[in-house]
Symmetry: C2
Subunit: 461 residues, 2 copies
């Protein structure tokens, strides 16, 4: 068995919180999308920073790869142990350690999920806004610089993490950032760790920025005759400075799949889903002004979700988009694209993508966080059809090229993982080598999530 001595040392430290069982290894070798199953050599469940530090010291001594595992909901294969080694499952470090309402901060362990945190916060009048599709762990969301439907207003993980505790490759524990709202005290190590995907360190504690639950909330959904009209509505709304808390686009295919999954009766047309947050008066004014833009753009079937239940149903439907789309083709797997472009180029990016998908003969509903210029095509693929996967990869490749040609990025929020590593050089040029130099400086033995993100040994993906 590979890494036998390391695994024995880990077992001595962790007892039954270290497993070599086939079942656990396979469970931690799975992923949400098309990447092949890749079981690690062992799985560990630490319960404290101190344990994570000791685990890394052992792995470092034996040069055993360490790949952090949150909820396994990555869409880019981030948590797959492509070079073998240890899957470090942080799911048992799931405590909300402190809520500081007066500073609008919460201190959490990495295994706390975004929904668990918000459930915990309910009585405080505060909430944590970043909401990727999955009920992901906050550690995983930080490691991948995740965002969601409210990023247009509240920002992504980049904007909502004040401080981190991180265990480095050799077990050294560092703290980055502070509880202050800003700082100019040297290199922004917090920002460096956010989006480093477990290649620079393991996040063991997060200090998160909270926001006041808005006094009033108003949500709506409305249909458009064309996706161009929907996108133009978004652009006009931004230009007018109407402060949206959420603005989501779904195309006619997604509308159909929503109906099938949720028993709704949305017209099978492109839709926008929008939300405003503020005082009663501000929200009323914003809703009215937005309604005028929609009317001007020929939007129809405009329905305000006036009760909390209706609103929750609306956003639950939106968060359930990925499984709803997968359900449209039973047994399929998804390849989800994730480009983000400047707002002015969004309409052409979506148009070209729709044409591409049609030409490739694929099924690919499109939806996205259009207020950020970020959209996803969910390519629905037959698991056993290698030729179809190849076609989908070609479409995804053209999407990435398109993103860069239009001045954007190949991944708005899903991260690099395995799926986007092949585009890093095209996106960053020599900057990718700089990332490699930083990686080497912090993890010279390359034990942290090897085969991902930075230049170096190729992966099988």
């Amino acid at each position: 068995m590979p890494f036998e001595a390391a695994v024995e040392a880990l077992a001595a430290l962790l007892g039954d919180r270290l497993s070599r069982s086939e079942a656990e290894r396979r469970l931690h070798g799975q992923n949400e999308t098309w990447f092949p199953e890749t079981p690690p050599d062992a799985v560990a469940w630490p319960i404290s920073t101190e344990e994570v530090s000791k685990i890394l010291a052992i792995c470092h001594a034996y040069r055993m790869p360490v790949v952090a595992w949150g909820t396994g909901t990555s869409l880019e294969g981030h948590a797959l142990a492509v070079k073998g080694g240890l899957s470090l499952d942080l799911g048992r470090m799931d405590k909300v350690l402190e809520v500081r309402p007066e500073d609008m901060l919460a201190v959490v362990q990495p295994g706390v999920t975004r929904e668990a945190l918000n459930a915990d916060l309910r009585a405080t009048g505060l909430f944590f806004p970043v909401d990727p599709g999955a009920n992901a762990s906050l550690g995983g969301m930080a490691a991948t610089r995740a965002s969601g439907t409210t990023t247009v207003r509240y920002g992504s993980m980049r904007d909502n993490v004040a401080a981190l505790e991180v265990v480095l490759a050799d077990g050294t524990v560092i703290r980055t950032g502070s509880g202050a709202r800003k700082s100019a005290a040297g290199y922004d190590l917090t920002a460096l760790m956010l989006g480093s995907e477990g290649t620079l360190g393991i996040i063991t504690e997060l200090t998160l920025r909270l926001h006041g639950q808005p006094e009033a909330v108003s949500s709506a959904v409305c249909a458009f005759e064309s996706f161009e009209a929907a996108v133009e509505t978004v652009q006009m709304t931004i230009q007018m400075g109407i402060p949206m808390a959420r603005i989501e686009f779904v195309d006619e295919q997604v509308a159909r799949m929503f109906n099938a999954a949720n028993g709704t009766e949305l017209p099978e047309k492109p839709h926008l889903m929008i939300e405003f947050h503020g005082s009663e008066q501000a929200v009323a004014e914003q809703s009215e002004r937005f309604g005028e833009v929609v009317a001007e753009m020929g939007g129809a079937d405009f329905a305000w979700a006036t009760t909390t239940e209706d609103r929750n149903r609306l956003w639950k439907m939106r968060h359930g988009a990925y499984p709803a789309c997968l359900a449209a083709r039973p047994g399929c797997m998804g390849l989800v694209t994730d480009i983000c472009v400047p707002i002015s180029r969004l309409a052409e990016a979506v148009a070209e993508t729709r044409a591409d998908i049609a030409e490739a003969g694929l099924q690919g509903p499109i939806l996205g966080h259009v207020g950020d210029g970020n959209f996803h095509a969910i390519l629905l693929l037959d698991r056993d059809d290698a030729e179809e996967l190849a076609r989908a990869k070609t479409v995804a490749g053209r999407l990435a090229e398109r993103a860069l040609r239009l001045g954007g990025t190949v991944t708005g929020e899903h991260g690099v993982g395995l799926g986007k590593r092949g585009y890093m050089e095209a996106e960053h040029g020599v900057g990718w080598q700089v990332m490699g130099a930083i990686k080497t400086a912090l993890d010279p033995l390359g034990i942290l999530n090897p085969g991902k993100l930075i230049p170096g040994a190729e992966t099988d993906a």
Copy 2:
């Protein structure tokens, strides 16, 4: 002469845009505050990225230190060539290269000042919000992760730089970020460069996020009986979720110095200066709610600046606070502290600081961006009194300790430079060594702004 061969190679490249004159060297050896004059060996004025690249290649070959120079308005001695070498004055790279209103972005060279950019933007309905006291260059503001009076609403340089072009130590040119509103494509090199103070690379181009000029603006100034009442007013306003665009505190001494400098008649009491941005209706509502808080906290002399002229006068007075304070003690120099603490600890931080300054027998008016928890004491010192400077340093040291004890940072916005380097280990612990490792990875010869920010050879400061 030191670096003679390097200077000759630079002169061959730059002609009369390379100077060894005593006058230019002394001009680039000065600083805004108490650090001693430190002339570089030569001064260069590049006019293009290509030239900066060639200059760095030469300096790299000869191991000649390179220190970027913007407008020389740093309060921490950032731009002083403490190890000798070249002062790289980017003042002639002062073009606004592109304004993209539809994407709310502007592309500028590093020598453009914040006021020049906003003058250029006037017709577009957009503005760039970050406004440190000085009319600093945008390259310098990025390099020091600057912020200002509007950070409470629009964020600091961390939040308002979308992309950078950076020349690395050996002359390699990289581009970080993109025109997309967000990205999860690997390490956040943009964030790493912001606040790196010229120790990792020279910023030669910035893509900045712009904001829509608000439809309505409402500013006010009001006096309080105690600084505690003023700070509590800020805390309550934040708790109530009233979205402030600016909220500035000045103490009774600053009010007196404002009056002397501007011919105003502010009561000699602690004041808040506030501004709201939004639609007419939203601003009216916010102003009304804030007025209620102020009344509850016993605020008085509440005056709304209703005309654009009045507003401009108000904020010009605020931006002129530093010279106004210096003018209160003719011929003095300033030592400006810059701690930032969690909002909940702000009142005690200010109280302890006031007591400290009084006990040390120093003159130290206090003002700050209280919505961020950031405040400055401007210690007014006799240039020729070494004993007074020593007392001031002791007070500054206790302020730094206080910031860390209260969970904050030793520098909210002025940066590390020479003045805060001695506190880096206390603030970051082992994280400071990580900064050093990153520095070594990117600039192994250590030619970029040596003696600053990261661990290593000591400076004279």
